[in-house]
């Protein structure tokens, strides 16, 4: 529909979206999130599978994993964090620019997993503030997408910043495992909780 200047500003009705600045900022933040590559172990393979064609992270615009932390806003800690890797993890997190979010993918990142020993940090929340914990060993791509979508929903609702202020660190939301849904050939319904 062409803009008609004869009617002055009234002609622009169909071409303007209005909203609060806050909701526009939140919308921009969640819809253009770039994940940083932090794949460590088995969960990294499932993270790559989530970016693959079957489970397709590209529909959220997230398939480009930024190698440089300065260009990324989401860090998905995928895998077990060893004592030697912990300072590196913190350094990468510090190099990311605000606003930044952390998803702790898998049980090893969330709590040390099955490796309760001298070598593994028992939960990456000892090093960085975590916003969403995704359980599973490894969490399938559906669980990872569920955690990403949960993060989006919380950013949109503003719930994330509220929880962060309350906790003094990360938001710390635990999602449930959603694997095996498409194994029987059932279609994935996007957006369904």
């Amino acid at each position: 529909m062409p803009i008609s200047f004869d009617r002055g500003l009234e002609g622009l009705d169909h071409n303007i979206i209005t909203g609060t600045l806050e909701s526009l900022v939140k919308w921009a933040r969640q819809k253009s999130m770039f994940p940083a590559t932090f794949g460590l172990a088995c969960c990294a393979i499932e993270m790559m599978a989530t970016g693959g064609p079957h489970y397709d992270l590209a529909r959220y615009g997230m398939e480009v994993f930024r190698a440089s932390p300065r260009q990324a806003d989401l860090m998905i800690v995928a895998g077990r964090v060893s004592q030697k890797m912990a300072p590196v993890l913190r350094q990468i997190y510090d190099q990311m620019m605000e606003p930044k979010w952390v998803i702790s993918m898998g049980v090893c990142a969330s709590s040390g997993g099955m490796f309760q020993n001298y070598a593994i940090v028992q939960g990456v929340d000892q090093i960085v503030p975590v916003d969403v914990y995704a359980p599973g060993c490894p969490p399938g791509p559906e669980t990872l997408m569920h955690s990403i979508l949960t993060l989006y929903g919380l950013i949109q609702a503003g719930e994330l910043t509220r929880r962060r202020e309350r906790n003094g660190g990360g938001a710390g939301i635990l999602v449930d495992q959603r694997d095996g849904q498409t194994a029987g050939g059932q279609p994935v319904t996007i957006g369904k909780a």
Binding site: F38, L40, A41, H54, G79, I92
Partner: protein, 446 residues
Amino acid sequence: MPADTTHGSLINETYEGSQELQPRKGLKADELLREIGSVLRMSEAEAADLGNRDPGSDETMIINMGPQHPSTHGVLRLMLELDGETVLRTKPIIGYLHTGMEKQAEDLTYLQGPTNVTRMDYASPLFNELVFSMATEKLLGIDEEIPPRAQWIRMLMTEINRLASHVLFLATNGMDIGAIGMMLYGWREREEMLRFLECVTGLRMNHNYIRPGGVAADLPDGWRDDVLRLLEPLPSRLDEFDQLMTGQPIWRERLQGVGVITAQEALALGATGPILRSTGVPWDLRRDMPYLFYDQVEFDVVVGTYGDCFDRYAIRLNEMRESMRIIHQILDKMPDGDYRIQDKKVTPPPRARIDESMEALIHHFKIFTEGFKVPEGEVYVAIESPRGELGCYMVSDGSARPYRMHIRGPSFVNLQTLPHMMRGGFLADGVAVVSSVDPIMGEVDR
């Protein structure tokens, strides 16, 4: 390098820690004499110390690649000594994924062992479980009595896992060289294989399916059709990959003649698997020291000639074709029978009997909490994993937990060939070389 004052002002603003580019300092004369080789033997503390000494006339620089880097295949850190773009010496620094699995194994029973070991080589987890189970069975003395169906099922599952692992290699190798679409094609194939594995074992990865005594569950009904449906599009897809990569001039330029290693070097360094076969040595444990029923199936061992990255890529591509051949033969030869040994000591009772018999309930309880005791002794068992010789050295002291379990990870030993392959090449070739070695850091660091 610029004078120190400008460098100093830059340091304060963007100091990146030990990843900072440090100017090269003069090595001591005796070190230089000893170091005509390709391995950069400098401890991390010394490398960090380099920045504190006075700058001389710098010709080469020592830079750090990783551990967080898109092309290091996991958390591998490389300290490279560069002269311009040419790589002189390299030191691979590992340990960023050290999980203490060998220590953990001493705390877990033999039935829990495969859960632990399977997370070492996470691209082909069933191989780790297989070698652990084979070592346990040898210690128990039941390795000759495993039912044939169990062995054939193990062969089927591990060959499908080999397919999945090689597809992962093709995907990551393609992406590292620049054929980014290969990542998507590779994952398309892998999903089909993981779907089958999920159908049989319940999990897409880290299955804990191959256990001492056999396998955890029988193949589901209709598995033959599932396997045929899995294998059917593969030959044409592999031809697609051939078209996309093998004949393509850019691919060849980037991989042929890059990362060359000779047979003597590979043997001396203990390299096995596609790296050794790419140099022309036709050593494959499946044929030369057969285990399971590999002596009853026909397949070729794929061998390269030049020992370069292209050979390793071609070997893995063709090993996929050989694996498909093996799987077709397994489909014909799969016998009926038990899927695990019926030895009460090792095998839990069938689940249905637990509701009926108290004795079965106690038996089940004891096996899963206490575990079964393995007689005292030590063994070493090795199989051919997609990366090379995967071995398990196990010492038992008669209790229900291994006294010492050591996994000889092929990637751990294969990484030693990296400095020799990267010497004299460009930094970009270094990426291709790391990718062609196909290390999985889980089994490097354990």
